[in-house]
């Protein structure tokens, strides 16, 4: 092979390369980790306290830590939030053995559905199931309504922004977003300037990471606007949970998410080039070595479209074809799961062998739709993130419905000074990196690391941002027969074709290790099903 094949395409995703792993490492420095669990009674409604089950309940919650962080299930005084009551009642009414049996059958279900990591080069145990927690995370209808409105607003504004920046650049002329921030962004693609993308949609598939602060307020931690992944885990979690807790699921009235593949397909179809009423839609994968390959095969199968690699595609006269046993077949829409850099060696990285030669020109000519568009990374740059509230205001004339995390731009001398003086308390991130690379977690860092970062910041302030360490919410997880809280985030998936569609829920990632704030599956993180209630 002539070019280099990167080990992964740099997708921010739930496993190896997640964009926001340690950055949730946000232990509050003032509250020691070993804070004693509050001794509380909890209210499980009308249950008789003497029926012998209270003991189980006590044991179940023996190690349930309640401190400053927002708890998804319990109020600060220990009582159960109303929408979690039915779940708790089910759990406490199930005998321990029954719970274990369900856990095992859920494990088996993951295994037989092939939702596994394949560990190669090992003599045994080649297939491991994706770590998950059996208890669903519940989101009430009103909370969801807010999230949905907030994300819809955000995706609309970000698409406006990309169209503007790659077009007339009014927002830069008006000085709302500094020019140098745009032109110094590593994901800015000058090739996209002046190019009209189909229906003006740059980001058709986004995954936005939300956290919940101490107050219970949802905030956006980051937008993933390039090739977000993890949606297959959302879908398979649901399938397994429906089998594991059928009655509970039914009684809760959970909003469905199963139509995601169909919505995605419709979104892709709505972006097809003009005059192609029966578009041939394909999913472009970097191949089997990519850590999200399972997801690529899963989505392709669920949508009934072909899964292609760069080597399956050829271009001729600015038309993209795929090689089939029935000859060349024209390709109209490409759902791209390969990074910009590796998509077309003629235009982007020359040493890439994952892409398709001539793809960009065909795209430019309007003969094929590639989505997400190239250059969308500009809008999920960690420094640009700080401007998203202004971007929303500028294009939509509205205030952001979901706020950002406070972010210090280090190009500003005053902020820089403040950050440098408080490196032991803040989280510093390199703007273009993901997967937890190039990051300093103040409270967990050594003096030497802090000094190293201070030097790096001084040398290139544009390359870094700083945020306060966050104490984000916890949700109950099942460990054996005990329930303990663990930190969780939420990644809803937003589709944007003719309009925004968000299936209710998303991927809840959870730091399964005790005391951990890292939700990456490669570092002891897992996922949970997310139930949005009617």
């Amino acid at each position: 092979m002539s070019g280099t094949v990167p080990s992964h395409s740099g997708e921010p995703l739930p496993d190896a390369s997640a964009g926001s792993g340690n950055e949730r490492a946000a232990a509050k420095s003032e509250a020691p980790e070993q804070a004693k669990p509050l001794e509380v009674e909890f209210d499980l409604g009308t249950r008789d306290q003497d029926d012998g089950r209270t003991l189980d309940v006590d044991r179940m919650f023996r190690d349930y830590l309640l401190d400053g962080a927002y708890d998804e299930m319990r109020m600060p005084d220990g009582s159960i939030r109303p929408h979690y009551k039915a779940l708790m009642e089910t759990l406490t009414s199930l005998p321990h053995e029954e719970l274990q049996r369900r856990k095992q059958s859920a494990d088996l279900s993951f295994l037989t559905q092939g939702i596994t990591f394949t560990v190669y080069g090992r003599d045994e145990g080649t297939e491991r199931i994706f770590p998950y927690d059996l208890l669903p995370r519940l989101i009430s209808a009103s909370e969801w309504d807010l999230i949905e409105r907030g994300l819809t607003q955000r995706i609309a504004a970000l698409n406006h922004f990309l169209r503007d920046v790659y077009g007339e650049a009014k927002i830069l002329k008006d000085g709302v977003v500094p020019r140098e921030l745009v032109y110094s962004c590593k994901h800015y693609r000058r090739q996209m300037c002046g190019l009209e993308v189909p229906r003006g949609v740059y980001v058709a598939v986004a995954g936005t990471d939300l956290l919940r602060l101490r107050t219970g307020e949802y905030v956006v931690l980051e937008d993933n606007l390039r090739v977000p992944s993890g949606v297959s885990y959302m879908l398979t979690n649901r399938r397994v949970m429906k089998r594991t807790f059928p009655q509970l699921f039914h009684s809760y009235g959970v909003k469905p998410i199963e139509h995601y593949p169909q919505l995605l397909l419709n979104t892709l179809r709505s972006l097809a080039p003009e005059g192609r009423p029966e578009p041939n839609i394909v999913l472009l994968t970097p191949g089997v070595y990519n850590s999200a390959y399972f997801e690529h095969t899963y989505l392709a199968r669920q949508m009934g479209i072909d899964l292609v690699e760069g080597r399956d595609l050829v271009t001729h006269d600015n038309v993209v074809y795929m090689r089939t046993t029935d000859g060349l077949k024209r390709v109209d829409v490409i759902y791209r799961r390969v990074d910009d850099d590796f998509s077309d060696p003629l235009v982007f990285r020359r040493d890439s062998s994952l892409g398709c030669v001539g793809l960009f020109n065909a795209y430019r000519a309007g003969n094929v739709t590639v989505t997400n568009a190239f250059g969308t990374g500009l809008a999920d740059d960690k420094a640009m993130y700080a401007y998203v509230p202004d971007i929303i205001k500028y294009y939509l004339g509205e205030d952001a419905i979901i706020n950002n995390v406070k972010t210090y731009l280090l190009t500003d001398p005053k902020s820089r000074q403040h950050v440098l003086a408080n490196l032991d308390k803040l989280v510093v991130k390199a703007v273009g990196e993901s997967g937890g690379y190039g990051m300093l977690i103040g409270p967990h860092s050594t003096k030497a690391q802090q000094e190293e970062f201070a030097r790096a910041i001084e040398a290139n302030p544009r390359n870094y941002i700083a945020q306060p360490t966050l104490d984000f919410s916890r949700a109950p997880c099942l460990f054996g027969s005990e329930i303990e809280p663990r930190h969780v985030d939420l990644r809803p998936y937003i589709l944007f074709g003719d309009r925004a569609h968000i299936v209710p829920g998303g991927l809840t990632r959870v730091a399964l290790e005790k005391g951990s704030l890292v939700v990456n599956s490669s570092q002891g993180g897992g996922s949970k099903d997310t139930w949005v209630l009617e």
């Binding site: 037989t112 089997v288 095969t297």
Partner: protein
């Protein structure tokens, strides 16, 4: 179907067939070595290696056990069992979504059996059992392939790979053996010669099938007739070529394009050779050349398949 997918399925299948062929021939050779006969070990190994395509870095070194180990476990030897199973699995992995879970699991299990830390010891303890269990694994794979996969275009490419590989291997085997086989003097066979003939049949798992057709009356002519011209036995050349032709037809029916005239002609000629030539005609002519022609046609079919379905030029495809 994507050309790349068809290609991977085709090779996955060819490699498994090849692994099975290596095992059978190795097994027969090792068991014939137990009997003292006028054929020396060196001659037997030479023949074995030639019929396995003469792997470049292997020569007879006087140690049958070590040689066998090499043909089973050495991943650098082209037709070794490990090499073939590795390659089959790698091809399957590239198209994991196109094959059934059962197929993948069987193949994976086979792979891990070969790479288990106990494999060498098991092989040392009882070579026959070990090889038999690998063949079992391959048969299981074929079984689940036939029962769990849609018999669509992908399955046809699997079938095509299987029969083309088999036809080629059988033709090679017969070409290597025919000279000595037909030179056998017309007298009643000694016990050794009998063993020799049984060995040849067993290389194609055809001893029992032969007996059903011809009784245990072994003669080189009949063996050649059976392995070349029998219509109903799956390891006979004619049967394999019929399988190839059926799959070519089916590929067109299930989504691929119509095979080009050249390809149909090549397969058709091969079919006609095996369908309408009698064994007497073959023996009167030049059996070696006949077998050689068969091999050439198999190679042609492979090349044409590639040129037409997998590695076609863009210009030719656009011209259609």
């Amino acid at each position: 179907m994507l050309s790349r997918v068809a290609d991977s399925l085709y090779w996955m299948s060819r490699y498994l067939e090849r692994a099975e062929n290596t095992i059978r021939q190795l097994d027969v050779t090792m068991s014939l070595l137990l009997d003292t006969s006028e054929t020396t070990a060196e001659m037997r190994w030479d023949r074995l290696l030639i019929s396995l395509g003469n792997p470049t870095n292997v020569t007879w070194n006087g140690d049958a056990e070590a040689m066998a180990r090499m043909l089973v476990f050495d991943g650098t030897v082209p037709a070794s069992v490990t090499t073939c199973i590795n390659a089959a699995r790698e091809n399957a992995r590239q198209v994991r979504e196109e094959i059934s879970t059962e197929q993948w699991q069987r193949l994976n299990r086979l792979y891990h059996q070969m790479h288990s830390p106990h494999a060498q010891a098991q092989f040392g303890a009882n070579m026959n059992d070990f090889l038999a269990s690998v063949v079992d694994g391959i048969h299981l794979f074929k079984g689940v392939s036939d029962t769990t996969m849609i018999h669509g275009e992908g399955w046809q490419f699997i079938r095509l790979g299987r029969y083309l590989e088999r036809a080629y291997a059988t033709a090679t085997l017969l070409e290597v053996y025919q000279e000595r086989l037909l030179d056998l003097p017309e007298r009643e066979h000694s016990g050794y010669q009998y063993l020799e003939l049984v060995g040849l049949l067993r290389c194609c798992t055809s001893f029992e099938a032969y007996c059903q057709v011809y009784t245990a009356d072994l003669s080189p002519d009949k063996i050649l007739e059976f392995l070349l011209l029998n219509r109903d036995f799956p390891h006979a050349l004619r049967y394999s070529i019929d399988g190839v032709r059926q799959s070519l037809d089916a590929i067109q029916r299930t989504g691929g394009r119509r095979p080009p005239e050249e390809l149909l002609a090549s397969a058709g000629k091969l079919h006609a050779m095996l369908r309408y030539t009698t064994i007497d005609e073959i023996l009167e002519g030049n059996p070696g050349a006949f077998l050689h022609t068969i091999r050439e046609h198999c190679q042609d079919i492979h090349d044409l398949l590639y040129r037409y379905y997998v590695q076609y030029s863009i210009q030719s495809a656009l011209a259609v």
